[in-house]
């Protein structure tokens, strides 16, 4: 095994000790008015990453550890889809450009999806992390000989990603839906899946995105006994199984989403708690976001976001 030059420029608690620049941002593009694509050099992560796994990055010394799904890992680089949501994701969008560096990226974290020949594999997504995983998972599933069906749901036409970032290219069968019907099929992926199940076209479903829709999906497939594997997004700190922040009840037992997941059998997840625990820090996050936006708007002398 070849171990790359250390990414730990801030090795001993200090940034750029060795003068080597790592975790450099190599690409950044808008995907929609609210989502963006970012690509970062992280050879140690890219080399080991497999679909289903995620990363945790920190933007700067005072930053938070932020878990992110991976869209692709190639040539020593990690590509991610990010939603402008709170302080960190907004700050990354507005303050960091190609050539800048992130302070830390750890990964891959979590367990990889078992890639094998299942037959007909569906991946359904209706939000940013799901769209990243949709592409990544089906690419691997197609290479493993599966018939791949991708469904991607967006709010409306304006929010649909540019074609090259959709999962079309890795899908044998592709469906795009919008809530208002302004592009593709009207509705969300649940409607499409109903149709697929009726036509007996589904051997296994993977899905990622809004936790609410994922919970509905679990109820939709449960009577049919169709294996349904979904990403469980929980608030994380370390991502290594050290803190229990990401704990969920799974089959009545405590599981850590970062270590034992993040993909779980949707039929065994206690969805109510999963959805609720995502809001644990809402008030504080709002404060941080408002404080940041105020600074941002002051800097630009106008309302930027």
């Amino acid at each position: 095994m070849q171990i790359e030059i250390t990414p730990s420029v801030k090795n001993l608690g200090q940034k750029n000790l060795g003068g080597v620049v790592m975790y450099r941002i190599t690409d950044k593009k808008d995907l929609s008015p609210i989502d963006y694509f970012i690509e970062v050099e992280a050879p140690h992560v890219a080399k080991a990453w497999k679909p289903g796994q995620f990363v945790i990055f920190i933007t700067h010394e005072k930053g938070e550890r932020i878990p992110m799904s991976v869209y692709k890992a190639e040539d020593g680089k990690i590509g991610m889809f990010i939603r402008k949501l709170g302080k960190t994701t907004l700050e990354l969008y507005h303050e960091f450009d190609v050539g800048d560096t992130l302070w830390s990226i750890t990964g891959p974290l979590g367990k990889a999806i078992e890639v094998k020949d299942y037959g007909n594999v569906v991946f359904a997504s209706d939000a940013v992390c799901g769209h990243a995983e949709n592409h990544a998972t089906l690419k691997a599933m197609k290479e493993a000989g599966n018939y791949t069906i991708s469904i991607q749901s967006f709010e409306d036409k304006e929010n649909v990603y540019p074609e090259k970032f959709l999962a079309k290219s890795v899908a044998d069968e592709y469906y795009l839906t919008t809530q208002d019907g302004s592009m593709g099929i009207k509705g969300d992926f649940l409607d499409v899946i109903k149709g697929l199940i009726e036509n007996d076209k589904v051997d296994i479903i993977f899905a990622g995105g809004n936790l609410g829709t994922l919970a509905q999906l679990a109820e939709l497939t449960r009577p049919y006994g169709i294996p349904t594997i979904t990403t469980i997004r929980q608030i994380m700190v370390d991502g290594t199984g050290m803190c229990g922040s990401c704990r969920i009840l799974y089959d009545g037992k405590i599981r850590f989403a970062c270590r034992d997941g993040p993909m779980f059998d949707a039929h065994k997840v206690d969805w109510e708690d999963v959805i609720r625990r995502g809001k644990r820090f809402l008030e504080l996050e709002k404060r941080a976001r408002e404080r940041y936006l105020q600074r941002l708007n002051e800097k630009h002398g106008k309302e930027v976001f």
Binding site: M1, I3, P7, E64, S104, M242, R247, I254, L284
Partner: protein, 470 residues
Amino acid sequence: MAKIIKERIPTPERSVDERVKSFAEVNLGYTFELAQKEAARCIQCPYDFAPCIKGCPVHINIPAFISKIKEGDIKEALRIIWNDNTLPAITGRVCPQEDQCEGACVVGKVGTAVNIGKLERFVADYAREQGIDKELLEEELKKIEPKDGKIAIVGSGPAGLTAAGELAKMGYKVTIFEALHLPGGVLIYGIPEFRLPKEILKVELEKLKKLGVEVKTDYLVGRTVTLEELCEEYDAVFIGTGAGTPKLLNLPGILLDRIYSANEFLTRVNLMKAYQFPEYDTPIGVGKKTIVIGAGNTAMDAARSALRLGSDVTIAYRRGKEDMTARIEEIHHAEEEGVKFEFFLNPVEFIGNENHKVKAVKFEKMKPLEEKDKRGKRKIVGTGEYVTLEADTVIIAIGLEPNKIITESKGLKVNPNGTLVVDETLMTSIPGVFAGGDAIRGEATVILAMGDGKRAAESIHRYIESKKGA
């Protein structure tokens, strides 16, 4: 012989009023003059007899270094300590001295034991402030003869850091792999600033860097690289991954908001500096009334941190006062700062409000029996009586177990409690892979982890030599 001075010279401490509002270090340590006065209390037991040396897990020549303090030769004092312990600024602050060196001191039989921990800390602090440690390090650097052999260390807690330092001094090329973004293990993410300022750890890490040790942070072994891959690339591997996984109580209500494991709480506060939110991005929610469950060092640290974040804090423990496992100094500081204690209470349920935030904890009252358990503590039984205490924040500090990510590696034998199986040389079931610290002991202490790191370094050296001979 001179008359024994029965009472120890007190170390200056920050006032309670100041402490409860700040994360600054509580104990300020001895000045040069005070250290010399305290050193004079040691009656200089002969080396073969000195009970303090036997009480110290790494057998520092305590009377020798204390006598150098008396003479005012701090450099020699440090040299003597370094023979057995390269992180005295840390152990001087966190060792459970009352059970170890000081617990055995003969002066303690007639008065209070010599304050060995604080003297050790003084030597380290004074040497650092005066640049004496750098001089000594330069001398050591000159003595290093580079050897063939590359060693990987997994985890950068006290076990990993010590193993790395010892192996680097022997001349090996050492690389540390650490999962988190900063090295230090519990020393950086667990033990708070008010007990162990991070600046001290930083200086120690810089020393390692001078010794040529490379630290790769952001590397989770078992995910970023596998143990197998490390074995191919390196001549030997040391696993010092600690016992970082919190035990959680699988009780009704465990998923309620504002119930934290001590690790989540302390990591947010210490490593991520949530106490400086929103200047730092990581949030922490602490209410007005916090209950901490447990009574070890972790519980004390969590309690005193919550107190500093403005909460009223009660520690609830299922056993009695004398069974608490935390260092005496920490219990004492916690009491001084206003942490309350409730004994013989065992949690059975967490009760939430309509917003799914915890609002109370239901406990069963326990009572002690005469019979003792394996660890010599009185056994306890439930009484069938219950009490409910109000709390809007709960921190669970009932223990930790080894992290599974590395212990699930192919070929590694694991004990039923999750610790790694090692032989008397600290070698695991995989030849060339050694382990020490909490990864083999479960929750233990900094000094035991360091002792293991040192022993493993010697074993690794012998292992590599024997392979060369073969």
